[in-house]
């Protein structure tokens, strides 16, 4: 069992961080949460460790988000301000502003579309996504196609300064 989990760790850890990062938008926090999820897996020894980890991670990220709301830690998403106080290179600035725009675009998606997209991007199969979100397997393709389209649209709109309504 621990050996299995070590394998899962090797194959899933980075995907989990990737998934979490798009939810908490803080690399260190994402890594912390991923580690915490694995720490729980060590204790629980879930049968389907991979799916279980993503469920736990999603719950932890949601929890983080709720707390963020409570603390009124709203970030101005579209102003593309570099977060570093030290002067950053042009390249870093550009990457940062891209990241901010993608983040804004992601947040323009409906929660369900966003979840499905992020799970797919983290490497989960349609079956795994269906099991996790409760959507029918046959609906995953449709949801993904809508999520991708809206992501691209919202990103382009953000770039030209327009606002795309959610929905």
């Amino acid at each position: 069992m621990p050996q299995d989990l070590a394998d899962v760790y090797r194959t899933t850890y980075r995907a989990l961080v990737r998934f979490l990062y798009r939810k908490v938008w803080d690399a260190e926090r994402a890594e912390d949460l991923a580690q915490e999820a694995f720490a729980r897996a060590v204790v629980h020894k879930p049968e389907n460790a991979r799916g279980w980890l993503f469920i736990v991670a999603a719950n932890m990220a949601r929890d983080e988000a709720r707390r963020a709301v409570r603390e009124r830690r709203h970030l101005t998403l579209l102003t593309a301000e570099p977060q570093e106080s030290t002067p950053a290179s042009d390249h870093a600035l550009e990457a940062e502003s891209d990241r901010t725009r993608v983040r804004a675009a992601l947040e323009a998606l409906s929660p369900r579309d966003r979840e499905v997209l992020l799970l797919w991007d983290a490497g989960l199969s349609y079956d795994e996504i269906a099991a996790q979100t409760g959507l029918a397997r046959g609906a995953i393709g449709t949801t993904l196609s809508r999520a991708r389209r809206r992501l691209v649209e919202a990103f382009e709109a953000g770039k030209s300064g327009k606002h795309v309504a959610r929905g």
């Binding site: 990062y21 060590v42 020894k45 719950n59 990241r99 675009a105 797919w120 393709g141 449709t142 691209v152």
Partner: protein, 340 residues
């Protein structure tokens, strides 16, 4: 075949269709230029979306090495996990308790335990059968060297505290596996002698670890408890097992059949913690492991005796089973002594 819808197209590109579906889509695409055009659009869209997501990727850092032995159960957040996962959290508590206790039960365990044991409050749902299975599997490993059968129970009139000694000695074989953890449990539950929450928790853990004990007769159970064990009247009794509650003179686990698929356990324990001196003279604790607990903790039981608790014939009770907390609480209200 009619035109391929957008979702199917994406699933096709994602490689998530069954062989038959893939064939169907491919066949249609072969003879439908319009859909082939849409296929290319969908491909471009997917590529663009992936590109955007890659822009928002976290800085790619190597994963820290995985060392299962080092990972501690998380100290925070878990009780906030939404309901479907709370049973898992309960199991986590039970399984990780040694580690938790090593760091001090009072700060972390208590709120949880209060929820789990106070029948007047909404309770954490009982572990599902799967969760129980986990617990048992783990316990089976932990108890690999089978302890000798428990020596005959002391007479009911005997003071409860010394009575704990033979039982604890009988468990020595088991203790050698994880002396530190067990001692931590012991010392802590003693430190908390007056607090029934911990007490029940200890019984709970001990109850599960007794999963492989051999069954005993109702008369032995009575001797062990010094009184009639409690059962849900009218339900067939599958088996009676002795439980080893740390620091307690007697715990009895009675399995009753609720229906064809459901077994409940009624745990009755005679609540009478043993003083720490009894525990150490019985040879359960290695001197170094006890010292590792620190002087403060080791002194605590002596400083905080709980005379009312020692004298009271108070029973600790627990009804467990793969049922909702409400149902278990309802069953608990039905408990009656099992008279001869």
């Amino acid at each position: 075949m009619s035109h391929v819808d957008e979702g199917l197209l994406h699933a096709y590109i994602d490689g998530e269709l069954s062989a038959a579906e893939t064939q169907g889509v491919a066949a249609h695409l072969a003879q439908c230029p319009a859909c082939r055009g849409r296929l290319e659009e969908a491909r471009a869209l997917i590529a663009r979306a992936d590109e955007l997501l890659a822009m928002a990727a976290s800085p790619d850092r190597a994963a820290p090495p995985f060392r299962a032995g080092d990972v501690k159960p998380p100290a925070r957040l878990w009780w906030k996990v939404p309901l479907p996962l709370t049973w898992a959290a309960t199991v986590a508590l039970a399984l990780g308790i040694g580690t938790y206790l090593g760091e001090g039960l009072t700060s972390r365990g208590r709120p949880v335990v209060a929820v789990a044991t106070d029948s007047t409050m909404p309770r954490v749902p009982a572990p599902t059968p799967a969760a129980r299975d986990l617990v048992e599997r783990r316990e089976r490993r932990a108890t690999a060297p089978r302890p000798a059968p428990t020596s005959p129970a002391p007479a009911p009139t005997q003071p409860a505290a010394p009575a704990a000694a033979p039982q604890l000695r009988a468990k020595n074989g088991r203790m050698q596996d994880r002396p530190d953890q067990e001692v931590a449990v012991q010392a802590d539950s003693l430190a908390a002698a007056g607090r029934r929450e911990e007490v029940r928790l200890a019984a709970k853990i001990a109850g599960s670890s007794a999963a492989e004990e051999s069954a005993i007769s109702i008369d032995s159970a009575r001797r062990l408890l010094g009184t009639d064990p409690l059962v849900v009247p009218g339900l067939p009794i599958e088996a009676i097992y002795p439980g080893h509650a740390l620091g307690y003179s007697g715990v009895v686990r009675i399995e009753q059949v609720l229906d064809r698929n459901t077994m409940i356990e009624v745990v009755t324990g005679r609540a009478a913690p043993a003083p720490l001196s009894e525990v150490t003279t019985a040879g359960r604790a290695r001197a170094d492991s006890l010292a590792a607990l620190g002087p403060k903790r080791a002194m605590a039981p002596a400083a905080a005796p709980a005379p009312t608790f020692l004298r009271a014939p108070a029973l600790l009770l627990e009804v467990r089973g793969p049922l909702s907390p409400d149902s278990l609480a309802a069953l608990r209200r039905l408990l009656q002594p099992l008279r001869p």
